[in-house]
Amino acid sequence: MLHRGGFLLLVSCVAATAAFAQEVPQAFTGARIIPVEGEPIDAGTLVVEAGVIKALGPAGKVEIPATAKRFDLKGKVIIPGLICTHSHIGGIGGGDGSGPVQPEVRIYDSLNVRDSGFRRAVAGGLTTLNIMPGSGHLLSGQTVYVKLRGSKTIEGICLRDKEGRILGGMKMANGTNSQRAPPFPGTRAKSAALMRAEFIRAGEYRDKLAAALDEPDKKPPRDLRLEGLVEVLEGRRVVHHHTHRHDDIMTVLRLSREFGFRVVLHHVSEGWMVAEEIARAKVPCSIILVDSPGGKLEAINLVFKTGGILEKAGVLTAFHTDDWITDSRLFLRMAGLGVRGGMSRKAGLEALTLAGAKMLDLDGRIGSLKVGKDADFVILDGDPLSVYTKVLETWVEGRKVFDRSNPEDLLHATGGYGAGADQEPYHCCFGDEGGGR
């Protein structure tokens, strides 16, 4: 009942996927393949069929179908498609200024899929994004997980589950971004109190729905706000929680424990101060490294060493662009900075790929190069963590969506005249000049 549109959407999704899948098998040979799951393979072979990885291994040990179209990639490097767990591209507009909690607002109702930000994202090797509303609310709306398939409709890029349900999480925030004049909270304690009250109401609504399973007359009227929160309480929608300060991080963990919702901590600027606590709570972190601390009070202790400290504490750690805070074209740089700050190279690459896939519940489909997973991968001309390395091609589900040798793609990769004006993302209510996130 919650997803009556599901069936129709599933049909359109299947049709879209079929149109993109390649009829002929493809064999990519000669490249150093870094599958992220498993050891790197020098001069490896990757076989793709119908948009899915069919085989992978050292040259000679992988059978290449006779009909396969071959791509010689000697001297190149193949890595899984990059996954950004926190992006704001596409001219997003989530919750507005009417109130601090807006679980009924869906970000995919606002996206402009023709925004040049999508072109830059594939130029950076990104293949899957979690596109989110901003952080100016306690809860600013539903996020959407998209595949950068090059489709020109939102229906064509959103990811769905087997029932055709559009996949996404719920964006929440605490700390100062969401604090201002009523009806927004004015303090941290008020922020927590408002959210607790919301979850308690949602729990009651969930109980009424459950009780009405046998007695349809007692079913409460649909309530879009509470439906969204019920999805959170039932674990069907992961909370992506903006949080910077160590005490705010602990507040998120406390609320998550109280209401049993699944959560990914985002930004986590002071996560290095409470790494053990985060590890004990078994909560993953999606972090961002920016070029200097500050710019807002909560980020004055942001350091490059966060990734390394979380890794050592055993916390599942991913990176995100927070585009436009950092540029999707330079997402590989994030792992470079993470390693600079003490992360292992292995964890650095995982943080761009598999770790993010896990946080989006998509690791069965993406995040590593593995037989049966989607053929989402990036071809590089060198070490993934070198500034001098270029993304040559980006492939999604067996289809090339970025090619640096194509002048139009190159324009989006490097910038230049006509690379395009973007729709400004709408971030309600805070951060005047920077359009804060």
């Binding site: 601390p293 807002k296 004055i300 490059f304 540029d327 963590l385 230049g416 359009g435 804060g436």
Partner: protein, 413 residues
């Protein structure tokens, strides 16, 4: 009496409170920026100045000198345009002194009156090898104020300042189009306001010069000396070419307007930002205008919508003088790091040494401080940056920063 506030240069040999150590720095590769990199080189810094430089095999370390080693040694890095020290990392009203919004034209605002030497962002960039900052008032008003050049150490601004007034910041294009009466609401109005003010400054200058001259001759017709006007005084220094106008312009039409102003008033200008400068390389070359290019990773919205990673390479190829900047950030990150910005230029057509020029020799040249800094040569300041690999690689660390022979950072970053 005319205050000569714009031409004085503070020569600081010694930073108060800091002993200039006698130090020798040995590098697997030493980029002197005066010639090819020296393999296994050494730099001897005595009393804050470079006393010798060359191959380690040829130069003996004087007795008692502290010896530091690094894989790569470069000159101390120069950030050719920043607001650090005026803008602080809290990003709250109390630490944001880079932009005064009361009126759109305020060339009299001095950077030296706003610089917080204890700002943590200074320490941050110093940790990445930055030894010199050209910092001051931000773009965002038609004339926002003055800039200055500092070393990234010093207990007071007087300790830090190399050049107390290095430029006057002018902004063309959308970011200073604030409208509402006092501020310009269109590009045409921007230029008319600037021209009117410069004409006023010219009259003021003529009247002042005339009165001073006539005073000596006791000519009764000389008339009254006009009262000192700090704003016109500042612009007069630009008309006398003592101080350049640092004109921030990104779109091609705004860059063209900057060149038109230069012609009309015979000004010395430096183009700041210049996102579309690649469209006007011939014009900029002809006008002999150097460019302090926007940060490579600047957000490509608004006036920067056509910005390109390749611009530094294209401008250099066209024969222009180009330096890199950290620029002005209003949110997160609160400052960029010029080393990281030059890295993107290195990867997009300039290569290691070409990009290094953007933050050493070319920057020093454009800012007029190459007698002191920007390259490693005997007699120049002992300012060095030490790295454990290619300075531009993401995974390389800056392992040391030395200013005038003193180690000011030694935590690998």
């Amino acid at each position: 009496m005319m205050p000569r506030i714009f031409t004085c240069i503070l020569l600081l040999a010694v930073i108060p409170g800091a002993v200039s150590a006698q130090v020798a720095v040995r590098g697997g590769k030493v980029y002197t920026m005066t010639g090819p990199a020296v393999e296994d080189g050494i730099v001897i810094v005595r009393d804050g100045k470079i006393a010798a430089i060359g191959r380690a095999a040829d130069i003996a370390v004087p007795e008692g000198f502290k010896v530091l080693e690094a894989a790569v040694v470069t000159p101390g890095l120069i950030d050719a345009r920043s607001v650090v020290g005026l803008a602080g990392y809290f990003n709250h009203e109390h630490d944001q002194d880079q932009l005064e919004r009361s009126i759109p034209i305020q060339p009299e605002l001095r950077a030296i009156d706003s610089y917080n030497t204890r700002e943590p962002l200074i320490e941050w960039v110093r940790g990445y090898g930055v030894t010199v900052l050209h910092t001051g008032h931000a773009p965002g008003e038609l004339i926002s104020g003055q800039t200055m050049i500092v070393k990234t150490t010093g207990n007071t601004v007087d300790d830090a300042a190399l050049v107390p007034t290095a430029g006057i910041s002018v902004t063309l294009g959308p970011s200073s189009l604030r409208g509402g009466g006092q501020s310009p609401g269109t590009r045409g109005k921007q230029i008319s306001m600037l021209r009117a003010k410069l004409l006023q400054a010219r009259s003021y200058l003529e009247a002042r010069e005339k009165s001073v001259k006539k005073e000596g001759e006791k000519d009764e017709k000389a008339g009254e000396e006009p009262p000192v006007d700090l704003a016109l005084e500042a612009l007069a220094s630009a008309l006398r070419k003592e101080v350049p106008l640092l004109i921030t312009a990104h779109r091609a039409q705004d860059i063209a307007s900057a060149l038109r102003l230069k012609r009309e008033f015979d000004l010395r200008i430096i183009l700041d930002g210049g996102a579309e400068a690649y469209l006007l390389t011939d014009e900029l070359k002809k006008a002999d205008v150097p460019v302090i290019i926007h940060p490579a990773m600047a957000r490509y919205n608004g006036a920067l919508q056509n910005a390109s990673f390749n611009t530094p390479a294209r401008l250099k190829k066209a024969g222009l003088k180009v330096a890199m900047q950290s620029g002005y950030e209003s949110y997160v990150p609160k400052t960029r790091v010029v080393l990281f910005e030059a890295a993107i230029a290195a990867a997009n057509g300039l290569g290691l040494e070409g990009a290094l020029e953007l933050i050493t020799t070319s920057a020093a040249d454009i800012l007029g401080i190459s007698d002191r800094v920007g390259s490693l040569a005997v007699g120049k300041d002992g300012d060095l940056a030490l790295f454990d690999g290619d300075p531009f690689e993401y995974t390389t660390h800056c392992v040391g920063t030395i200013i005038e022979g003193r180690v000011v950072s030694d935590t690998p970053r």
